[in-house]
Amino acid sequence: ACGSDDAGSGDTDKKEDDKFKVAMVTDTGGVDDKSFNQSAWEGLQEFGKENDLKEKEGYNYLQSNAQSDYRPNLNNLVRQGYDLVFGIGFLMQEDIQKVAEQQKDAQFALVDSVVELDNVASITFKEHQGSFLVGLVAGLQSKTNKIGFIGGVDSALIKKFENGFKAGVLTANPDAEVFVQYAGDFNDAAKGTTIAATFYGKGADVIYHAAGGTGSGVFTEAINRKKNGEDVWVIGVDRDQFAEGIYDKAENKSVTLTSMVKRVDTAVLEVSKQTKEGNFPGGEVVEFGLEEDGVGIAPTEDNVSEEALKMVKEYKEKIVAGDVEVPMTDDEFASFNK
């Protein structure tokens, strides 16, 4: 970016310039949001380590404080000469598009959405597939046959979680009923608590949330109920949320049944590698599903029953093989359910 730094930087930068450099722009959650920003950053760090890059020089990130910061941040990184710039989150789609149109020589990658330009690689995940697997667990392990799903904001992306999950639940347990509610907010823990209270109050004993910070309220409610002797579970999202659900530290007991993990780190690392090797997937949509280990079920399996694990394994194979097509939209779910 700024003139002063370009001019006064001297030869250390020159040396770095020869190397392949990558960077990313976070959304307002910041690089350590315990969610996909953090996961993406871990991917970059891994890439840095593998290629012996220095943090802040060879690989870097910029945090956005507001939606309007995306574009200056993207521009800034391009102007600092990074060879590949990641935008994390579908909210950055428009900005990547514009910057990529203007900076034709730069290379971008966008996580969670698609930009059809030759200098942009689009990375998406098959969240519905992962959600299907945790749906199976929920369907099998629910004793009340009532299961809840809490979405952050009603959107196409979160719908993938909902529909995949519902399909999984019904596959494992056709008698189950799934309550669905969208909080309208990714950051309102109090709302999460209230919705969870409502679901549990209606008899649900497993709730899957895809609601970011609102989800922490779901854990709060579940822990409270567990402490008062109720048998309730939460299914975490994006990464292994076992720790969020711990209600008995000594015994390491958690209300987290399992979690649907989304391996943004894997995707970021993978695309960085390809690009360094000269195989930048520009103009392509790189999809990460069960097959690519882009989504899946969390490694902590303390609370998952043998039976469920077996079923998960079985369906994972079927999905990878293409024998089962997991629905992601409402329409697809409707026909799946027929």
């Binding site: 700024c2 910029l62 507001a66 200056p72 941040n73 910057v99």
Partner: protein
């Protein structure tokens, strides 16, 4: 900054060099200033007439949506009609959002601070719901507006190295002039200010107090609505579903008060805010200073300026002379 372990000289160089010398960041700073000026004007206008409008955030959102809607839905108009029409739509929507607290204040003495806070949340949910139900395009947002409604300019972008600078700054400065003119040069402004200072005396002088309270909130809301239109027609060209408030409305409170509720002051304060915010992004990039530090700096500047007797004195002088 020294105490927090970052390199202060590098950081400040990063902050100031770009907002004064790098055309891209100059462009971005001005772009950032645009809605800040207008939301500052909205807060200041209400303040001048004795009302505290915390509802700029909500008025901005509805203004944004209305302008984008007109930008999308109306086709085949030349730009010189389409742009003003879309801005007007934003202003009207904002005014409508200001009307509710104004009316409740005038007729039922309901404190405008509560109603405007509540109207913010209503605006957030309603605009999101309208976009989701009627205007949704891929990416959790609306379609892009027609180019005939766009304030963005290839020319401005090119001279600023592809910043998002757009013609909205002209609108914002016009807004500042309008506020100044309206308040100090018209009988309407005379009435609004009189009601703001002393409702009893205004009533005695035959001024319709209720009407002026409502009018004041509407005009304030209109400024906020135009601020939203600047985001919709200029910066973004569309409206996203907002998971949370934009913050521009709340920044407007600080901008207005830092600018002593005067037109010139607001432009300067918005410049300071915009510069610091954009500079902060660069400080992060160059000197690895976390952007939170800039928020802290902004807060300290506000404290400092607000506490300074110099500003107090200036403000009194400006007020007394009845200019600007």
């Amino acid at each position: 900054m020294l105490t927090s372990g970052y390199e202060p000289i590098k950081a400040y160089t990063a902050l100031f060099s770009v907002i004064f010398t790098d055309s891209y960041f100059i462009g971005e700073t001005v772009r950032q200033m645009t809605p800040l000026i207008l939301s500052g004007l909205a807060v200041a206008f209400a303040f001048r007439t004795g009302l505290f409008n915390i509802g700029v955030e909500g008025q901005l959102l509805v203004g944004w949506l209305a302008s984008v809607y007109v930008g999308i839905a109306v086709e085949g108009l030349p730009a010189f009609i389409h742009i003003p029409l879309a801005i007007l739509a934003g202003a009207l929507a904002g005014a409508l959002w200001g009307l509710v607290p104004g009316y409740l204040k005038a007729k039922f003495m309901v404190h405008e601070v509560i109603t405007t806070i509540m109207m913010n949340y209503v605006a957030l949910h309603v605009t999101n719901s309208i976009i989701r139900s009627y205007l949704l395009a891929p990416g959790e947002r609306t379609e892009e507006i027609q180019s005939s409604a766009s304030l963005s300019s290839m020319f401005l972008q090119e001279i600023t190295d592809f910043s998002r600078l757009h013609y909205g700054i002209v609108v914002a400065i016009l807004g500042a002039i309008v506020m100044w003119y309206l308040l100090w040069k018209t009988t309407t402004g005379y009435e609004l200010r009189a009601v703001g200072f002393n409702q009893h005396a205004s009533n005695y002088a035959g001024i319709n107090v209720s009407k002026n309270i409502i009018l004041s909130m509407c005009i304030s809301g209109a400024f906020a609505g135009v601020a939203g239109a600047m985001e919709g027609l200029g910066t973004y060209q569309y409206m996203t579903i907002n998971a949370a408030f934009t913050g521009v409305g709340f920044d407007g409170i600080a901008v207005a008060l830092l600018g002593a509720n005067s037109a010139i002051g607001i432009i300067l304060a918005a410049g300071l805010f915009g510069g610091l915010k954009i500079g902060a992004l660069n400080m992060q990039a160059v000197a690895q200073v976390p952007p939170e530090l800039i928020t802290i700096v902004i807060a300290l500047i506000i404290f400092f300026v607000a506490s300074s007797y110099l500003v107090h004195w200036l403000r009194n002088r400006i007020n007394r002379r009845g200019k600007i």
